[in-house]
C-alpha cells in the first residue's frame, strides 16, 4: 500500500461515512459509563508522568499552518486538534464514543435531538474557556466544508437543521425530522472544534442568514451556497499565528522529519496525560517504520503494512509488543459491469472460483488481513452478528477450477490451446487496476493475475499514479476491474452503501432515493437495478440499503440477510480479505494499553493522542 496512504484513505472513508459507537465497557481508567457513552469523572488517579512519547505521522509539511481544516496542516487529531467525542468502532453498535471536549451527550429516543454538554474545565491553551460559541462557529465551518451532519443540500438525510445554544457549555442539535438517520449523532460528535475567537472572523457576519437561504431551492439559495463555499476556502487557507489547542498538546516546532508537541497545561484532563512531550516522526515509506520499530525507537505505531518475518523481528526486540484487532474494512475486487464479459454473472462466478484467496493474502498482506471466507459484503468478524446462521447458506466460492471452467463455458467462452477466448474468438483478458504505492493491493493484484494466467486467462495489473486519480478514473468508468473497499462498518448502511450506493446507481437527492442508469452520475459498477434472489424474488438492493438508515433492529437484520445473499449470488465484487488492525508499541519508556475498540478509532492520522488523553499511556519509572 503504502499502507500509510490506505490508512489515511480508510480513515477518510470512515470519517465521512461511519455512524459509529457502541459502548462495551472499555472506558478510560477511573471513568464510569453513564449509559449514553460518555464517561463521568471519578476520582481518577494521576498517571505516572514524564518523558517524550515517540510515534509516527505521515505527510508532515513543515511549512503548513496548524489549521485542522488545511489538508497539509500541522494539526494532529487527538494531540492538538479535538472533537466533541472520539468514535468507537464497535463492530455492530453505531452510537458509542469516547469523550473528547464533550463530557455528556444525550440523544432523544427518536434520534432527532442531540444535546451536548462540554467538559466544565475545557479550556484553550491560551487560557480562554471552551464554550458553546466555539461549537457553533465550528458547526458553521463544518457547513462550509459540507462534512458530517453539516450538509447544505436541502433535505439531505441526516443534515443538522438547527443549532441552539442552551447555555455557555450546552448546545442542542436537531436533525431534519423529514429524513432522520442514524448517522446524525456521529456526524455531530465527529466535528472538529476550533476556537471561535480565532476562526470566527473567517465567516461572513450574516452566516446564519446565508445558511437559512442556502436551504431553499431557488436562485438565492444557489448564491448563498456559493458564498458559504467561498468562506470555506478562506477557512482552509487560514494560517493562525500560533497553535491554540484544546487538546493535551500544543505544537511547539516542526521540521520535515518530525513534529514536537508539548503539554498543554490547560487541557481539562491533563492529570491523565503522561508524556510531557510527543515526538511525531514523519515517514514516507513503511520500511522506515519497520526500522524505527526494530530499533525500539517508537513508543507506538499505528497500522502499516509489515511483512510477516519483519513482524517477527519487530516482536523479537525486547519491549516491543504487537496488537491485532478488528478493522471494520474489507477489500474487494470490483467489476464494472458495463464492460463485457464482466456483466455476465457466470464470468464473475468463474473468477471467484479460480482465485485462491488464502494464497493471495499470504502473498500480499499476511499480517494485515485474513482471506475472506466468502462474499457477503460484511466483514467476517461481524457477519454472524448481522445475518446469524444464514451465513452458512452462502456459497464460499472455494477454489474449484472445474466449476470455474463450467461457468466460463456457460458464459459462451471456450478454451483453445490452454487459453480462454471470448465467443468472438478474442482472448479473454482481465486487466486489474491498482493505485500506485498501495503495495498490498499491487501484490494482491499480481497474484490474482498470476493465478488467472495459470488458469489460462490473460491478466495483468495496471497502475494509476495515485489513489485520487484511481478513484476519479474508476468513477469515470475507465477500469473494468479494480480494488474497492467495502464493508465499512459498523453502521449497517455504511456497510452496504459501498456496494449499493451511488457507485452502483442509487443516489439520495433531496432526501429521496433515485436510480441512475449505468455510466451516468457516478454509476460505474453498472449492475442491474434489481436482482432475482433465491427465496426473496425481485430485490432492489439500493432501496434496501437506503432503508438501513432508518430501519429498526429487527428489520435491519432482515435487510442485512437479504443483501448478504444478494451479494453472494450476484457478486458485484469478490470479497478478497478482511482487514486486521496490527499495531505495535514498546514498553521501555511508556506502557501503552488502550482497549481494543480504541485501537480502531478511525478518522485520525495517529491514535496515540486519543489514548494519551484518556489515560491509557503511563510512563515507566
Amino acid at each position: 500500500m503504502k499502507v500509510t496512504r490506505i490508512t489515511a484513505t480508510l480513515a477518510a472513508f470512515a470519517l465521512a461515512l461511519t455512524a459509529c459507537g457502541g459502548d462495551d465497557g472499555d472506558d478510560a481508567p477511573g471513568a464510569d459509563d453513564n449509559g449514553n457513552g460518555a464517561a463521568e469523572e471519578g476520582d481518577e488517579p494521576e498517571v505516572q508522568r514524564g518523558g517524550a512519547y515517540t510515534t509516527i505521522i505521515t505527510g508532515l509539511h513543515a511549512t503548513a499552518p496548524p489549521n485542522p481544516y488545511n489538508p497539509d496542516g500541522n494539526s494532529f487529531a487527538g494531540y492538538n486538534s479535538v472533537r466533541l467525542a472520539w468514535v468507537k468502532n464497535h463492530p455492530t453498535s453505531p452510537t458509542e464514543f469516547y469523550p473528547g471536549l464533550a463530557s455528556e451527550w444525550e440523544v432523544t429516543d427518536d434520534n432527532l435531538e442531540l444535546t451536548v454538554t462540554l467538559h466544565p474545565d475545557a479550556t484553550w491553551s491560551d487560557g480562554t474557556p471552551v464554550t458553546a460559541d466555539d461549537v457553533v462557529v465550528s458547526s458553521n465551518i463544518a457547513y462550509t466544508r459540507g462534512s458530517g451532519a453539516f450538509i447544505l443540500d436541502p433535505g439531505a438525510a441526516g443534515a443538522a437543521s438547527d443549532i441552539e445554544v442552551i447555555d455557555d457549555k450546552t448546545v442542542q442539535f436537531t436533525q431534519d425530522p423529514e429524513n432522520p438517520t442514524r448517522e446524525f449523532v456521529n456526524g455531530i460528535m465527529n466535528m472538529i472544534i476550533v476556537p471561535a475567537h480565532i476562526y470566527g472572523d473567517l465567516l461572513p457576519d450574516d452566516f446564519d442568514e446565508l445558511l437559512q437561504a442556502a436551504r431553499g431551492e431557488d436562485d438565492a439559495a444557489d448564491d448563498a451556497r456559493e458564498a458559504i463555499s467561498e468562506a470555506g476556502e478562506d477557512v482552509v487557507s487560514f494560517a493562525p499565528e500560533e497553535d491554540i489547542s484544546a487538546g493535551p498538546y500544543v505544537l511547539e516546532r516542526i521540521n520535515p522529519s518530525e513534529a514536537l508537541l508539548v503539554r498543554n497545561e490547560h487541557f481539562h484532563n491533563d492529570h491523565l496525560v503522561a508524556p510531557d512531550q510527543v515526538i511525531a516522526r514523519n515517514y514516507d515509506g513503511n520500511e522506515q517504520v519497520w526500522d524505527y520499530l526494530q530499533a525500539g525507537e517508537l513508543d507506538s505505531s499505528h497500522f502499516v503494512a509489515v511483512p510477516e518475518d519483519v513482524v517477527q523481528q519487530i516482536e523479537a526486540r525486547p519491549g516491543n509488543e504487537a496488537s491485532r484487532t478488528y478493522s471494520p474494512v474489507v477489500a474487494g475486487l470490483a467489476f464494472n459491469q458495463t464492460y463485457e464479459p464482466f456483466d455476465d454473472i457466470n464470468v464473475r462466478r468463474a473468477l471467484a472460483y479460480i482465485i485462491d484467496r488464502e494464497q493471495m493474502v499470504a502473498v500480499s498482506t499476511p499480517d494485515g488481513g485474513t482471506a475472506a471466507t466468502t462474499t457477503s459484503g460484511i466483514h467476517q468478524e461481524v457477519v454472524g452478528e448481522w445475518i446469524g446462521d444464514t451465513v452458512g447458506d452462502l456459497d464460499p466460492y472455494a477454489v474449484d477450477l472445474d466449476r470455474a471452467a463450467e461457468e466460463l463455458e456457460a458464459a459462451g467462452l471456450s478454451e483453445e490451446n490452454g487459453r480462454w477466448v471470448l465467443p468472438d474468438g478474442d482472448p479473454f483478458s482481465v486487466p486489474i487496476q491498482v493505485p500506485g504505492g498501495f503495495s498490498d493491493w499491487i501484490a494482491a493484484g499480481e497474484n490474482i493475475a498470476t493465478q488467472l494466467n495459470e488458469f489460462g486467462i490473460d491478466s495483468e495489473i495496471r497502475t494509476s499514479p495515485d489513489f485520487t486519480v484511481y478513484q476519479e478514473e474508476m468513477t469515470n468508468g475507465e477500469y473494468p476491474v479494480g480494488f474497492w473497499l467495502i464493508g465499512l462498518g459498523p453502521s449497517p448502511y455504511n456497510i452496504y452503501q459501498r456496494l449499493y450506493g451511488s457507485s452502483n446507481g442509487w443516489e439520495v437527492l433531496a432526501g429521496r432515493l433515485s436510480y441512475n442508469e449505468p455510466g451516468e452520475s457516478g454509476n460505474w459498477k453498472g449492475g442491474p437495478e434489481t436482482y432475482d434472489v433465491e427465496g426473496h424474488g425481485e430485490v432492489n438492493p439500493g432501496e434496501l440499503a437506503h432503508e438501513l438508515r432508518t430501519a429498526d433492529e429487527e428489520r435491519t437484520h432482515e435487510i442485512m440477510t437479504i443483501l448478504a445473499q444478494t451479494t453472494n449470488e450476484h457478486l458485484p465484487v469478490i470479497q478478497m480479505w478482511d482487514y486486521v488492525n496490527t499495531q505495535f508499541s514498546n514498553t521501555d519508556r511508556f506502557i501503552t494499553d488502550p482497549p481494543d475498540d480504541a485501537r480502531r478509532v478511525t478518522g485520525v492520522t495517529s491514535l496515540a493522542g486519543i489514548w494519551i488523553q484518556q489515560g491509557w499511556v503511563t510512563a515507566v519509572n
Partner: protein, 301 residues
C-alpha cells in the same frame, strides 16, 4: 582481369578484414578479462533474446514456497509468489537490455547527426542546433518522467527507451560537434569540399567514419547509463512498479518485502543487483577492448 596499377579489391578486402580480426583477437588476448567481458555480454544478449523462449508462459512456480532459500533447484531462491528468482532475472533482462539498446540508438542517432551537421556546417545551423542541444541538456529528466508516468505505464521498453534517449542525446551532440570542428579543417575534408561533394556525402562518408569508433563506444556507454537510469527509476518507484525488469524486482524487494532488513528476502534483491553489476562490467570490458582496437596509439606492440 585487372591492370597491375589498380588495387585488387577482390583480394585486398578480405585480407584487410582478416588483419582486422587478427588485431581484434590480439587485443582480446592481451587482457583475458576482455574475453570474459565479451562472453558475459554474449550471455546477457542470449538471456534477453532467448530467455523468454526458454521459460514458457505462465512461468512455473511453487505457490507453497514463498521466499525459498537458495538451492540447486532455485539458485537465488524464490520470490513472494514462489517464482524462481533466477528465472525472473533472465526474463527481466529483455526489458532492461532492449530499453538500453533503444536508448543508446536514439542517443547516438540524434547526438551524432546533430553534432556532425552542426560542427560541419557552422553558422546559423550550428547556432540553432546547439541551442536545441543546450535546451536538451537542461531538461529536468526525472520531473518529466514523473509527469509522463501518469500517462504511460512504461510497460514497453520502446516507450522507456525512447524517452530516455530523447532526454539524453545532448552531451553526445556537444562532444561530436567538437570532434567535427577539428576534423573539418583537415585536408581530406577540404579536398572533398573542393570537389563539390554534397554536405550529406561529406558528413556521412567522410566525417562519420573517423568518428564512428568514438560513437560506437558511446553507444555502449549510453547503454550503461540507460540500464542504470531505467533500473534506478523503477527502483525509486518513479515509474509504475509493474512488469518484468530488474528495477521492479529491486523496488519490490526493498520497499515491499524488507530485503534490507530480512535475510530471507536478500537473494531477491541481490540477484538483480548482481545481474546489473555483471552487465556493467561486461560493457566496460568490451569498451576497453574497443578503445584499443580503434585507437592505434593505445595498442601495445
Amino acid at each position: 582481369m585487372t591492370s597491375p596499377g589498380m588495387v585488387d579489391v577482390t583480394t585486398k578486402g578480405p585480407s584487410m578484414r582478416r588483419n582486422f580480426w587478427r588485431g581484434v583477437w590480439r587485443v582480446m588476448l592481451r587482457k583475458p578479462s576482455r574475453l570474459f567481458g565479451v562472453a558475459l555480454l554474449g550471455l546477457f544478449i542470449f538471456m534477453a533474446t532467448l530467455g523468454p523462449v526458454l521459460y514458457g508462459r505462465p512461468l512455473p512456480r511453487d505457490p507453497d514456497n514463498f521466499f525459498a532459500p537458495p538451492s540447486l533447484q532455485h539458485p537465488f531462491g524464490t520470490d513472494f509468489q514462489g517464482f524462481d528468482v533466477l528465472a525472473l532475472v533472465v526474463i527481466g533482462s529483455r526489458y532492461v537490455l532492449l530499453t538500453a539498446l533503444i536508448t543508446a540508438i536514439v542517443t547516438i542517432v540524434l547526438g551524432a547527426s546533430i553534432g556532425l551537421f552542426a560542427g560541419y556546417r557552422r553558422g546559423r545551423l550550428d547556432a540553432v542546433l546547439m541551442r536545441i542541444t543546450d535546451i536538451n541538456l537542461t531538461i529536468p529528466g526525472i520531473p518529466i518522467l514523473l509527469v509522463l508516468s501518469t500517462v504511460w505505464q512504461f510497460a514497453s521498453p520502446w516507450e522507456m527507451g525512447l524517452v530516455l534517449g530523447l532526454l539524453g542525446w545532448g552531451a553526445l551532440a556537444r562532444a561530436v560537434r567538437s570532434q567535427t570542428l577539428s576534423l573539418r579543417e583537415r585536408g581530406f575534408i577540404e579536398a572533398a569540399r573542393g570537389l563539390g561533394l554534397s554536405t550529406p556525402h561529406i558528413v556521412v562518408r567522410e566525417l562519420l567514419p573517423p568518428i564512428a569508433p568514438y560513437i560506437a563506444m558511446n553507444l555502449l556507454m549510453s547503454m550503461i547509463l540507460a540500464v542504470w537510469a531505467q533500473v534506478g527509476l523503477f527502483f525509486l518507484g518513479v515509474m509504475p512498479v509493474i512488469g518484468e525488469n530488474w528495477g521492479v524486482m529491486l523496488n519490490r524487494a526493498v520497499f515491499d518485502f524488507g530485503a534490507m532488513t530480512t535475510a530471507s528476502r536478500l537473494p531477491y534483491m541481490l540477484a538483480p543487483l548482481l545481474a546489473l553489476l555483471l552487465l556493467t562490467v561486461a560493457i566496460v570490458l568490451v569498451v576497453d577492448a574497443m578503445d584499443e582496437i580503434f585507437n592505434p596509439r593505445l595498442r601495445e606492440e
